[in-house]
C-alpha cells in the first residue's frame, strides 16, 4: 500500500521539513523556512553542563518538537500523537494508519537508520521522518534530509523508533487530525509578527547561556582555551565540535541563519510597503550575519589545523562581532514589527 499522490520534499532540517511536507500533502502550502520562522525556532544555546560525546551542547534551534508543536498551534491544526510501551503495538498502529491512507510522521534514532551515511550515524534519537507506504517487508520513507525517498526494512525501522536513551521517542508517531476543519485562508500577518517578536525576546533573554549572551560566552570560552591546560587534542576536538554543531546537523547553512533570513524575506511580502522594506533589509542583514557564521566556521577549522596564539583571538573576535550584529538585527526587527 502506498499513498499515490505523495510528493517527497528534500529539505535542510528534519523537523521543519517533515512539517512542511506533511502540510503540503494536505493542501497547505507552507515552506520549510516559513514554518521554522512561525515557530520561533531560531536560537543559540551554549550548555556546558549537558555533554554530547564529552563536549558541551551547542544548539542553534529550539529543542526537538518545538516546530511541530508551535506550527500546529499557530495554524490551528491538531496532530494525533501516539507513544507506545511495546514495539509490536507501535508497528501495528503504523500499519493501520497506512491502511487508512494517512501520511505518518515518526520520531527515530539516526544511528539505527540503515540508509544514513555512516559518518552521520550518531546516537541522536529525535530525527523526524515520514512514512507514505509499505511494500512487502519494507516501509517507504520520505526522509527530509535525503534527496529521494528510501525503503527501510521493518526490523530496522522498529529498532530506530524504539531506541532507548536521551530524547528517546518511545515509538512516537503522529498524523494530521482530519476530523477537524483545516483553515486554508489564515491571515499570516499577526502570526508572523508574534513569531518574530517572540524570537527576538528569546535571543535577548537575560540568561548567560542562551541567545546573544550565549554567543558572547562561547567566544570567551574559545579565547580562554588558548591558555587552558587541556591537551591540544582536546582543543582541536572542541573547536571541531563547534563547527559540526553549526553546519553538519541539517541547518540549511550557518546554524539556521540562512533559513531564518529566507523566512524574513518570504514574510516581507505579506506586509505593507514600509514594513516590507524593513523586513527585506533585515533579511539581507541576516544573510550577512550567516556569512559571518560560515567565515567563523572556516577560520575555526583553520585554527584546528594549526593551533596558533593569534588564531584563538581572531576567531573569538569574529564571534563577538556576530553576537553584536545579531543584537542589532533583533532590535531592528522588534522596531519593524511595532
Amino acid at each position: 500500500m502506498t499513498i499515490e499522490s505523495f510528493q517527497h520534499q528534500h529539505t535542510a532540517h528534519c523537523e521543519s521539513g517533515v512539517m512542511s511536507t506533511l502540510l503540503k500533502h494536505y493542501g497547505l502550502d507552507f515552506s520549510e523556512p516559513m514554518l521554522f520562522g512561525l515557530s520561533s525556532a531560531l536560537t543559540f544555546a551554549y550548555l556546558p553542563m549537558i555533554k554530547v560525546s564529552g563536549m558541551p551542547l551547542i544548539a542553534y534551534r529550539m529543542p526537538p518538537k518545538t516546530i511541530i508543536r508551535n506550527s500546529c498551534k499557530k495554524l490551528g491544526l491538531q496532530l494525533n500523537m501516539y507513544k507506545f510501551s511495546s514495539p509490536a503495538q507501535g508497528m501495528q498502529k503504523l500499519d493501520l494508519a497506512l491502511q487508512n491512507n494517512q501520511l505518518v510522521g515518526l520520531q527515530t534514532s539516526v544511528f539505527w537508520l540503515p540508509y544514513m551515511p555512516e559518518a552521520l550515524r550518531f546516537h541522536f534519537n529525535a530525527h523526524n521522518i515520514l512514512v507514505y507506504g509499505k511494500k512487502d517487508d519494507h516501509y517507504l520513507i520520505s526522509d527530509p534530509v535525503m534527496e529521494n525517498p528510501v525503503a527501510c526494512p521493518r526490523i530496522d525501522l522498529e529498532r530506530a523508533r524504539f531506541a532507548k536513551g536521551a530524547l528517546a521517542g518511545k515509538g512516537l508517531m503522529y498524523t494530521l487530525d482530519l476530523s477537524k476543519p483545516i483553515n486554508h485562508c489564515i491571515d499570516l500577518v499577526p502570526l508572523i509578527r508574534n513569531a518574530i517578536v517572540k524570537n527576538a525576546r528569546q535571543m535577548q533573554a537575560p540568561l548567560p547561556f542562551v541567545g546573544i549572551k550565549g554567543i558572547h560566552l562561547l567566544a570567551n570560552r574559545i579565547q580562554k582555551l588558548k591558555k587552558s591546560r587541556k591537551s591540544d587534542q582536546y582543543k582541536k576536538l572542541y573547536l571541531g565540535h563547534i563547527v559540526r554543531m553549526q553546519e553538519e546537523i541539517g541547518t540549511g547553512g550557518a546554524g539556521f541563519r540562512y533559513m531564518y533570513a529566507s523566512f524574513l524575506q518570504q514574510s516581507a511580502y505579506y506586509f505593507p510597503t514600509n514594513q516590507q522594506t524593513l523586513l527585506l533589509d533585515a533579511a539581507k542583514f541576516m544573510t550577512d550575519i550567516g556569512d559571518n557564521w560560515r567565515r567563523f566556521a572556516s577560520r575555526t577549522v583553520k585554527l584546528c589545523r594549526n593551533l596558533s596564539e593569534n588564531g584563538f583571538y581572531d576567531v573569538a573576535q569574529l564571534l563577538h562581532q556576530v553576537a553584536d550584529d545579531e543584537k542589532k538585527l533583533w532590535q531592528m526587527l522588534i522596531k519593524a514589527m511595532k
Partner: protein
C-alpha cells in the same frame, strides 16, 4: 551567500548524498544543494577518526585481556559511558565496573541482555571480540567514497 558560492567539495562524509543549503540568487532566497564543504568535512572526519582511534585502542586492550569486551562494543557502537548509561539503564559507575574483565565475566545473563539489546547483539556475541574491527559495528559504504 549566493547560490554560486555554495561549496561543492564532494565530501566523503556525505556518503554520496547532497544536502539543502538556503542561498540567494540576485538577492532572492532559494533552496539549493551542496555535495560537501571541506571545512565541515574536516570537523566531521575529526570526530569520526577520534572514535575510530578509541575503538582501535579499546580493541587492543580487550584482546590483551585488560578490559572486558563491553569496552570495545561501547566505542564500536559510538557510545560513551554517559550515553550507554542512558541507553542501557545502568548507572555510569556500574558500567565502569563492568568494563573490568573479572567483573564482566560474573555478570548474569539478565544484565548482559541489557547490553546486548543496546547493541542489537546476542549475549554470545557480546562476550567475545570479533576477529577484526567491523566498521564501527555498522555495515555501510563509508570507506568506499
Amino acid at each position: 551567500m549566493d547560490v554560486n558560492q555554495i561549496p561543492q567539495d564532494k565530501s566523503k562524509t556525505y556518503g554520496g548524498h547532497a544536502k539543502i543549503i538556503y542561498a540567494t540568487t540576485e538577492g532572492k532566497y532559494t533552496s539549493a544543494t551542496s555535495d560537501g564543504w571541506q571545512d565541515e568535512e574536516y570537523a566531521t572526519l575529526q570526530a569520526v577518526n577520534a572514535l575510530t582511534e578509541q575503538t582501535q585502542h579499546a580493541y587492543d586492550l580487550v584482546k590483551s585481556g585488560q578490559k572486558s569486551p563491553l569496552f570495545y562494543y561501547m566505542f564500536a557502537y559510538r557510545h560513551d559511558v554517559t550515553s550507554l548509561a542512558q541507553t542501557s539503564g545502568f548507572f555510569r559507575w556500574q558500567i565502569r565496573r563492568h568494563l573490568n574483565l573479572k567483573i564482566f565475566n560474573q555478570l548474569s545473563d539478565k544484565k548482559l541482555m541489557r547490553y546486548a539489546q543496546a547493541f542489537n547483539l546476542s549475549i554470545e556475541q557480546l562476550k567475545q571480540l570479533p576477529d577484526q574491527i567491523t566498521s564501527n559495528g555498522i555495515n555501510d559504504s563509508f570507506d568506499e567514497h
